[in-house]
Amino acid sequence: MVRDGDVVALEGFTHLIPFAAGHEIIRQGRRDLTLIRMTPDLIYDQLIGSGCASKLIFSWGGNPGVGSLHRLRDAVEQRWPAPLALEENAHAGMAAAYAAGASHLPFGLLRGYLGTDLPKYNRVKFIECPFTGEKLAAIPAIRPDVTVIHAQQADRKGNVLMWGVIGVQKEAVLAAQRVIVTVEEIVDQLNSPPNAVVLPSWVVGAVCQVRGGAFPSYAQGYYPRNNAFYKQWDSIARERATFQAWMQQHVLSTSDFDEFKRSLEQVVTHV
């Protein structure tokens, strides 16, 4: 469902990051993607280092608590493996842009970006409040061709339930033309509490079960964030050769996420 040249958002704010779906995009050898994510995280480091992307729209591009995303840096600093255009925002702006997309508004409105250099390099404009004259930021809505998320559960009808840190996933889904959801579990009945975050089946395109599909990110109620892997990624991704060897061994040479995880277990390292 992802095609070369698509504008794709794989969302999940530290929690429920759709790693399994990202690996599948890499295995399919997609090219020229415009990748959107507030926090690119390791999954976009892998996509960018694998040459899938020509543009990145983001607001914070690091390895949380660890340091740089070396593949992202290499693409920006050295144009390797390919040049990467950046459209750079602040979190507040990205959130407003996603909400505008979900609301089918052409732009999001916020008090932001004032006195920063960001608007010199992105598409943010400033408008005047028709009542007070205050200068406010306007950011173009985000409308991905495809949004991909990972959630905890779906029922057999395809209604999706997620809980915990919910990030901007509902907005990313409702802003998109097509939606792909992977879930930890497909259940007969979502026993969702009142006002839970449920995405009805009719706004979700494809749902498929991938247990552990957010690893090394986490799924609340299923498994914790693998902080050790996040730290280890720093040494894997620092050099092109080690990165490529790792991708070859664990992603490109495996056919699905289960195999990927088994291949990791064969080289267990303590951190």
Binding site: G65, A90, T116
Partner: protein, 259 residues
Amino acid sequence: MSEIKYTADEMMTIAAARMIRNGASCFVGIGLPSAAANLARLTHAPDTVLIYESGCIGTKPTVLPLSIGDGELSETADAVVSIPEIFAYWLQGGRIDLGFLGAAQIDRFANINTTVIGDYYHPSVRLPGAGGAPEIAASSKEVLITLRQNKRAFIEKLDFVTSGGHFSGGDSRAKMNLPGKGPTAVITDLGIMTPDETTKELTLTSLHPGVTVEKAIESTGWALKVAPQLATTEAPTETELRVLRDLNERTARAHAGQV
């Protein structure tokens, strides 16, 4: 009582923690700010409301999160809301007493760069970028900044202004009608700087025990102003050190383990 040994980083974190008023709502970034805010919560400020940009409000982690959205943050929070809501209703909504930021580079008016070193399109170093910082710096009622002090970090001119402090100094921030009053202190491993009341230029007002003025000046990329009556930061108490070290140990244990 024998003298207590501690590191410069411990002093920095403890000095930063002391600045948090009990009961304040704090929007905290990951890393040093998170460590200082949690130390405050575990010592003199038990009712501090910790807010992380992942949407966790009133969270009470037992270990320091590695990421801004670790599971424990949401499991121990009073409320967990969406990202659009945390930025629109809570930060922009004027609910944050204290924004607590780190930085890669800072200038004399406490403006921050976390975006690039060198030319934007051909950077020598590509940094992570803005995250929540620009609006935290603009909308929090008050802002604290903490980072290690050296000439590469404390520089004359920023290559990129990611988050505004006091801009070009004087009344330049006031003229912009931002909701918050901006940075009120910068806490480093050497001492504490606060903006001059009129010029808004960062001025060294306190040195940590054993640090010389010369050291602070040569670790700053501009001609650092020093307050006429320069204070000495109170050394860490046994309690502060014990709580911080326990917190760091618990954290190290939690983040180690198998891949």
